[in-house]
C-alpha cells in the first residue's frame, strides 16, 4: 500500500450526492471541414458549387459545411446508381450482396462509438440513446437484411422476386443513421441501388456511412448520398429514372410526394407522422407505466413519429399517475447531449424549437393546465423542458396535430370503449400503447386500435424483424421484417401476375 498522504479524504464536502459531469469524448471524431456529394463511390464537388452549414444544436456551432445538391447533381447520382445497378449490383450473386451488407454491419459495430458521438453532435440526441439505440439498431438492420439477400425466393415461395432498380430515398432528421439503415439495408439486399438524401440538419452520419461504404469497397454507385434541403428532395422525386421512392418524414411532404408521383410507374412507400395514444388502464403496473409514458413521449426529445404524444389514462388512477409522472419528470436530466447522464438532449434545430414553442403558446392560449420539468436550460443551443398538458379535449390542436417535441397531451377515460374511440379519433395511425396487467385486455383493445404498431406494456421498442408502418395519414407500406422486403421487390407469382 502506498504511503498515506495524511490528508483527510474529502467526505461530505460540497453536494456529494450530485452527479458529476460524464461527457463522452469527441477527440476521436474526425470531421472534414467540407463534404462533397458521394456519387459513384467518391466524394464530388457539387455542380451547384453551393454548400450549407450543419450546426450542433446544443452549442449552435458549425460542425462542417455540406454540399447542396441541385437537379444536375441528383441526375449524376441517379445515373451512377443506374450504371451500378446494371453492371455490378443486380448481376452479382445474391450471397455476395449479402457479404457486403454483413461487412457494412460489422464495420458499423466496430466504429459504433464514432458514429454515436457524431449522431449526438449533429442531431442533439443524448449519447445514451445514440450509443444504445440508434447505432446498434442500425447495425442490426444491416445484419438482418444481409441474411435475406440470398434467401429471397424462400421469402416469397412460388414467386420469383426481382429487384426494382434505382431506389430514391429521403430520410428525416430524428434518427439520421438508423433511418438510413432502414432504407439502404433492404434495398441493397433485394438487389437495388440507392440514392439517399439525408435531412438538411443532420447529414453527417449519412456522409460517414458513405465513407464506410467506400472503405469496405462497396462497388461504386451502389450507394449514393446527396445532401441538401427540400429542393434536393424534390429533384430526386421528380427524376424519371427512379423506380422506387421511399420517404420518411412529415405528412405534408408525404402528400406532395404522392401527388408528384401520381400517374408515374414509380413505386413508393411513405412513413409519415403520428399522434399515438398511450392507454393506461387502472389495472396496469403504475410505476412501470409511468416509465413507459416517459419513454413514449420524451425519448429523443419527442422527435419520434411513433411517440406516445397522447396519454389516455383511466379516470380512477389519473391522479396517481399524474402525481407519479410529475415526480418522475423532475428527475429527468436535460442538457449536454454528450453527457452520459443526460436524458433529454437538444431540440434538433431552431426551426423545430419555434414550432414546439408555438404549440406551447397554443396550449396556454387555450387555458390548459400544464406542468413542466423545473430545470435550468443552457444559455446557448435549442432546448425545451419536458411539458405535460392536462384536461385536453379532442378538439384541441394539441390533441390533433403532431408536435414532434417533448410535449404530452393528457386525457382521461372511463370505459375501454371510450379509450378506443379517443385513440382512433385521429387522422394518424402509426402506433399506440396499451398498459394493463390483463393479457386478455391487451388482445381485446389492440385488435380495435387502428395503428400499424400496438405496444403492450412497453413503448418505442424496435426490432429489424418486426414490420413498421402506418394506417391512414401515417403512411403507405411497411418497413422492417419480411414486409420490408416486398417494398423493394417486384414479386410475381407462378402465373406472372404482380403481387405487390
Amino acid at each position: 500500500m502506498a504511503k498515506p498522504t495524511g490528508e483527510p479524504l474529502p467526505f461530505g464536502a460540497g453536494d456529494a450526492l450530485a452527479y458529476a459531469p460524464a461527457p463522452e469524448s469527441t477527440e476521436h471524431v474526425q470531421l472534414d471541414e467540407r463534404y462533397g456529394l458521394f456519387i459513384d463511390g467518391a466524394f464530388k464537388t457539387p455542380r451547384s458549387r453551393r454548400f450549407f452549414d450543419t450546426v450542433n444544436p446544443a452549442t449552435e456551432q458549425t460542425l462542417a459545411r455540406v454540399a447542396r445538391a441541385n437537379a444536375a447533381d441528383v441526375n449524376d447520382a441517379v445515373n451512377a446508381a443506374r450504371r451500378a445497378y446494371e453492371r455490378h449490383w443486380s448481376p452479382l450473386k445474391p450471397a455476395e450482396r449479402g457479404k457486403y451488407l454483413y461487412r457494412i454491419a460489422r464495420v458499423l459495430q466496430e466504429r459504433a462509438r464514432e458514429f454515436a458521438v457524431i449522431e449526438s453532435m449533429d442531431g442533439g440526441k443524448p449519447i445514451r440513446e445514440s450509443r444504445d439505440v440508434d447505432v446498434p439498431l442500425a447495425a442490426a438492420h444491416f445484419f438482418y437484411y444481409a441474411g435475406w439477400a440470398d434467401k429471397l425466393p424462400y421469402a416469397f415461395p412460388g414467386a420469383s422476386p426481382q429487384p426494382l432498380g434505382v431506389a430514391g430515398q429521403i430520410i428525416p432528421w430524428n434518427f439520421p443513421l438508423l433511418m438510413a439503415a432502414w432504407k439502404i439495408a433492404p434495398a441493397l439486399a433485394c438487389g437495388n441501388t440507392v440514392v439517399l438524401k439525408p435531412a438538411e440538419t443532420t447529414p453527417l452520419t449519412a456522409l460517414k456511412l458513405a465513407e464506410l461504404c467506400r472503405d469496405i469497397d462497396l462497388p461504386p454507385g451502389v450507394v449514393n448520398i446527396v445532401t441538401g434541403a427540400g429542393a434536393t428532395g424534390q429533384a430526386l422525386v421528380a427524376h424519371s429514372d427512379v423506380d422506387k421512392l421511399a420517404f420518411t418524414g412529415s405528412t405534408a411532404v408525404g402528400r406532395d410526394i404522392q401527388s408528384a408521383l401520381a400517374g408515374r410507374r414509380t413505386r413508393y412507400t411513405l412513413e409519415l407522422g403520428g399522434k399515438a395514444a398511450n392507454i393506461i388502464f387502472e389495472d396496469a403496473a403504475i410505476d412501470q407505466a409511468v416509465e413507459g409514458i416517459v419513454n413514449a413521449i420524451f425519448f429523443n426529445q419527442g422527435h419520434v413519429c411513433c411517440a406516445g404524444s397522447r396519454l389516455l389514462v383511466q379516470e380512477s388512477i389519473a391522479k396517481d399517475v399524474l402525481r407519479k409522472l410529475k415526480r418522475r419528470m423532475q428527475s429527468l436530466i436535460v442538457g449536454d447531449p454528450l453527457d452520459k447522464n443526460t436524458d433529454i438532449g437538444a431540440i434538433n434545430s431552431k426551426a423545430q424549437l419555434e414550432r414546439i414553442k408555438a404549440y406551447l403558446e397554443l396550449g396556454r392560449a387555450d387555458d390548459l393546465a400544464s406542468f413542466q420539468t423545473e430545470t435550468s436550460l443552457p444559455a446557448t443551443g435549442y432546448w425545451c423542458a419536458p411539458t405535460v398538458f392536462t384536461g385536453v379535449a379532442q378538439s384541441h390542436r394539441l390533441a390533433r396535430e403532431e408536435i414532434f417535441g417533448p410535449v404530452l397531451a393528457v386525457q382521461t377515460f372511463r370505459t375501454p370503449d371510450e379509450a378506443v374511440s379517443l385513440a382512433n379519433n385521429t387522422p394518424y395511425g402509426l402506433s399506440s400503447g396499451v398498459w394493463t396487467d390483463k393479457g386478455a385486455k391487451v388482445f381485446q383493445i389492440s385488435a380495435q386500435l387502428r395503428s400499424g404498431v400496438v405496444w403492450a406494456n412497453t413503448f418505442n421498442k424496435f426490432d429489424p424483424t418486426s414490420p413498421f408502418g402506418g394506417y391512414k395519414e401515417s403512411g403507405v407500406g411497411r418497413e422492417g421484417g419480411l414486409h420490408g422486403l416486398s417494398a423493394y421487390l417486384d414479386v410475381q407469382d407462378a402465373a406472372g401476375r404482380g403481387r405487390a
Binding site: 502506498a2 483527510p8 479524504l9 467526505f11 450526492l17 410505476d287
Partner: protein
C-alpha cells in the same frame, strides 16, 4: 451506510471484537474515513459488541426472531427480541414468517411484526422479507407494504443465507413501495439491501437507484444501509486506487 455483519454459527467473542475494531477504524492508512453505520451480530454477542463499541456512535444491530428461518414459536421470538434489546441492541433485524406469508396468512405475519415492534421498545426495527423465498416481485411488493403498515422502520431484502439475496429489481420494487407508502401515510421508511453486494460499482448502482426513486433524503445512514461486510474492503481498495493510481493487493486491507 455499511452494516458490518457476522452471522455464523462459529462466531466467537473475539471475532465480534475484531469486527468492532474494524467498524471503529476501517483502514489505519486513511485517517478521516467515516466509520460504518452499524455492526450486526447474533443476540448472544450483543453484549460483547456493546462493550467494544461504547461511546463510538456506531449502532449495534442484532438479528432476532429465529434468524434466519424464523421457524420458532412467537413467544420465543418476542423473548429473543427483548433479550437483544436489553443487552444493548439499537436495532433489531427480524425475519418474517415466510411459510405463513406464502400460505396467504397475511394477518398472522402482520400481527407478528406488530408484536415484535412492540417488544423492540426504542430500538429500530428492520424487517427482513427474505425476497429469495417469496417467488415473485408481486409478493415482494405485498410483503413490503405489509411490513411497513405493521410498523417497520426499515425493510430489508435478505438474511444473506438464501440465494438470490439482494438484487436490483427486488430492491427497486421495495424502493417504490417505500415511496408509495410515504406518499400515502407521510411516514418515511428506510431500506437495506443485504447479501451479494460486495463491489463498489454495484453499490453505486444501488445508490443511483435510491437517488432516482426516493431522492437525496434517503441517502444517509439513517435511511439507507448496505448489509454487506466485504463491500467495505472493496470501497477501501477503490479509494486507494483513486489516490495512488493502482490497485493494491487485498492483503493490504484488514479482513476482520
Amino acid at each position: 451506510m455499511i452494516d458490518l455483519t457476522t452471522l455464523e454459527g462459529a462466531d466467537s467473542s473475539d471475532k465480534v471484537r475484531r469486527l468492532c475494531a474494524k467498524a471503529r477504524r476501517l483502514h489505519a492508512e486513511m485517517p478521516g474515513l467515516p466509520h460504518v453505520a452499524a455492526v450486526c451480530v447474533y443476540p448472544q454477542l450483543v453484549g460483547v459488541a456493546r462493550d467494544a463499541l461504547a461511546d463510538t456512535g456506531i449502532h449495534i444491530a442484532s438479528v432476532a426472531t429465529g434468524f434466519p428461518s424464523g421457524q420458532i414459536e412467537r413467544a420465543h421470538k418476542l423473548a429473543e427480541t427483548r433479550r437483544a434489546v436489553k443487552a444493548g441492541a439499537d436495532e433489531i433485524d427480524m425475519v418474517i414468517s415466510r411459510g405463513r406469508f406464502l400460505a396467504g396468512d397475511l394477518r398472522y405475519v402482520h400481527d407478528e411484526i406488530v408484536a415484535v415492534k412492540d417488544a423492540c421498545g426504542d430500538a429500530h426495527l428492520k424487517v427482513i422479507l427474505e425476497t429469495g423465498e417469496l417467488g415473485s416481485l408481486d409478493q415482494v411488493r405485498r410483503a413490503s407494504m405489509l411490513a411497513m403498515h405493521a410498523g417497520a422502520d426499515f425493510i430489508k431484502t435478505s438474511t444473506g443465507k438464501i440465494q438470490p439475496a439482494a438484487t436490483l429489481p427486488v430492491t427497486l420494487v421495495m424502493l417504490e413501495a417505500i415511496r408509495d407508502f410515504e406518499e400515502k401515510t407521510g411516514r418515511q421508511v428506510g431500506m437495506k439491501p443485504a447479501g451479494g453486494i460486495s463491489k463498489s460499482k454495484l453499490a453505486l448502482q444501488y445508490l443511483v437507484m435510491v437517488k432516482e426513486t426516493l431522492g437525496n433524503r434517503w441517502l444517509t445512514p439513517e435511511w439507507f444501509r448496505f448489509g454487506a461486510s466485504s463491500l467495505a474492503n472493496d470501497v477501501l481498495m477503490q479509494l486507494a486506487k483513486q489516490e495512488t493510481g493502482a490497485y493494491q493487493s487485498a492483503d493490504y486491507f484488514s479482513r476482520d
